[in-house]
Subunit: 149 residues, 2 copies
């Protein structure tokens, strides 16, 4: 971990907060290359009526458009929540170097939980979980508490 880690996770949290404001499950993602942010996104499933528009997927698509290629070698991704199997496999297909995530997801997660996608995938990024875990989890808890009220 370098000095960017918590700074970039803070930006991912800001993306999650923006998603919450538009009524979407608050998850945010940032992709960086050599210490520079190249894309950022929040969950856009509701906004775009697209079940594939998780924060990670949108950030990967934006980063590829930005760099003009379908491979994100030497890039890192920062996500506020443990990615699901779809996003995990997309991270592997994009050959992202490192995955930093915040809160653990024992229900839908596909990294440490569920399918453990990287145990089966050809490209296996380095994984660092639990970065800024408390604020990342808090946004989700508040969102679902407000939903129930």
């Amino acid at each position: 971990m370098d000095y960017h880690t918590f700074e970039f996770m803070k930006l991912a949290i800001e993306e999650a907060e923006k998603a919450a404001l538009r009524g979407s499950v608050p998850v945010g993602a940032i992709i960086s290359l050599r210490g520079r942010v190249i894309s950022s996104a929040g969950n856009e499933v509701l906004k775009n009526k697209d079940p594939t528009a998780h924060a990670e997927m949108v950030a990967i698509r934006k980063a590829c458009a930005q760099l003009g290629c379908s491979i994100l070698e030497n890039c890192d991704i920062y996500v506020t929540l443990e990615p699901c199997s779809m996003c995990a496999q997309a991270i592997s297909l994009a050959r992202i170097s490192r995955l930093y995530f915040g809160a653990y997801d024992d229900k839908y997660g596909g990294i440490i939980h569920g399918c453990r996608v990287f145990e089966h995938s050809l490209h296996r990024p380095e994984v660092i979980g639990g970065i800024s875990e408390t604020p990342c989890a808090k946004i989700l808890q508040n969102f679902f508490k407000n939903k129930r009220n």
Copy 2:
């Protein structure tokens, strides 16, 4: 299986053939609702420089845009190749009812092989593999044979 099954798989094969013509790994997908095709797509990874643009993902996004919602309940998907973990999880998130696929993929597949995503997912579509398996596999074999020459 009803009388549409092989007809729809034939359309998926045509999408795979179109993908091959543009130099992409030839996989095609069709989504149907009550016996009617609502979206069709081939692999667009190279074309769009997007690692997430597998045929199934593109077809799911198109179908959601077509129906104006992020859920594809009562829809079926026909794919020429066993979906990978990314596409399998997207099929589950979209709550597609049935997955028909052609060729088996012991290297990258995530349904019968690898992660076996539906063993961990909340929504589990019915799965019918091996539909028109020989022509589906043949397109891929020819594509990779020509690549090597």
